[in-house]
Amino acid sequence: MIRLLLWLLGGLLLGGIVHLATVLLLPKLATQDAYARVSDMAPINAVTPVPPPTPEKAIMPFMDPAFATAVCRYDLSRGPMKFSVPVSPAYTSVSFYTRSDVAYYAINDRAAGRRVIELDLMTTAQREELPTNEEITAADRLIVASPTTTGLIVIKAFAPEPGLMAAARSALTAAQCRPQ
């Protein structure tokens, strides 16, 4: 009897480990996560508009239909990238996600404080290699350090009403995402 209880206890402990391991591994093993969904349509290091979500079809679940969206799937293995997007009349935001869909940085037009959101994207290691005493760290150059070599930039422009969607979409066509 005691032996059985010990086996039971052992099983429960092992079950806890199995639970934690599966939760921690799932983001790495998921094949239908947002990055994988976007990969099918978006080439590397280029801005690609995302079709607006409809009841029949949407690239990702829970997309906000009041926004025009574009993505840039980046790969920093060959060096840093430059990103820029002119702000739309209503609201523009740029969000950065790691390869495993963690939002590590987001900025909007007001925080950027100018007509064009412009920034340099590099890995943490590339950031450290930058000379520190140059004026590049001055306010005119915003540097974003990516925790992973690959990831996603999501650019969103707000359409306050459906009639303004075309304007929001055209603001995103000028977005650029290219290697330095």
């Binding site: 059985l4 099983g11 429960l12 806890g16 979500p53 679940p61």
Partner: protein
């Protein structure tokens, strides 16, 4: 023989408990670190690198992208204020004011996160579109049939959820109560 039976028993328990717990945690949505105000719950930490492992697993499985904290915050409502699940065959009134933000959007989704088809192709409201009363408050009627004023059609689906997204807002990780963030009330009016 005993050792073999014993370890088989232990492994069976481990697999059942471990996978069962994972499945439960991912499908029944753990309210880990959420901010609940009335019927609404937000997980502001999910838009930061501090996102917890359970939320990461849920995000990876559903395929959504959490809204970045520098962009905004999303409040989810799956029930009305009394705790009853939102039913697309009923009339539900969403009334009141929203927290401080540059603007907001309200969107209706089915439980899988798809937009719901309806005859007028309206899936939500933005703060610019909604008709307000003279005091700035608003009321949106969520109903399968056309209603005067702000009408958000449900398409008659059995279950739906609402997401109120606040953009460029001070509401976030530090928000705790409805005093910091007054959310609109969600009340069921009538049900066939």
């Amino acid at each position: 023989m005993r050792l073999l039976l014993g370890s088989l028993f232990a492994f069976a328990i481990a697999a059942a408990i471990g996978l069962g717990l994972t499945w439960m945690a991912l499908t029944h949505g753990t309210a880990y670190g959420g901010v609940t105000i009335g019927a609404w719950t937000a997980w502001p930490k999910n838009g930061t690198p501090g996102i917890d492992p359970y939320a990461r697993a849920i995000v990876a499985r559903s395929g959504e992208l959490p809204i970045g904290s520098g962009d905004g915050v999303a409040f989810y409502a799956r029930t009305d204020d009394s705790g009853a699940p939102l039913d697309g065959r009923c009339d539900v009134a969403l009334a009141g004011i929203t927290p401080q933000a540059r603007f907001w959007t309200l969107t209706l989704y089915d439980p899988e996160g798809r937009l719901v088809a309806n005859s007028v192709q309206r899936q939500g409201f933005t703060s610019q579109e909604v008709l307000r009363k003279s005091d700035g408050s608003f009321e949106i009627t969520i109903s399968p049939r056309a209603r005067p004023g702000n009408w958000l059609p449900t398409g008659g689906v059995e279950r739906y959820l609402l997401i109120l997204r606040l953009y460029d807002t001070p509401v976030g990780v530090a928000t705790r109560t409805g005093k910091d963030a007054p959310m609109p009330a969600v009340a069921r009016r009538s049900c066939p």
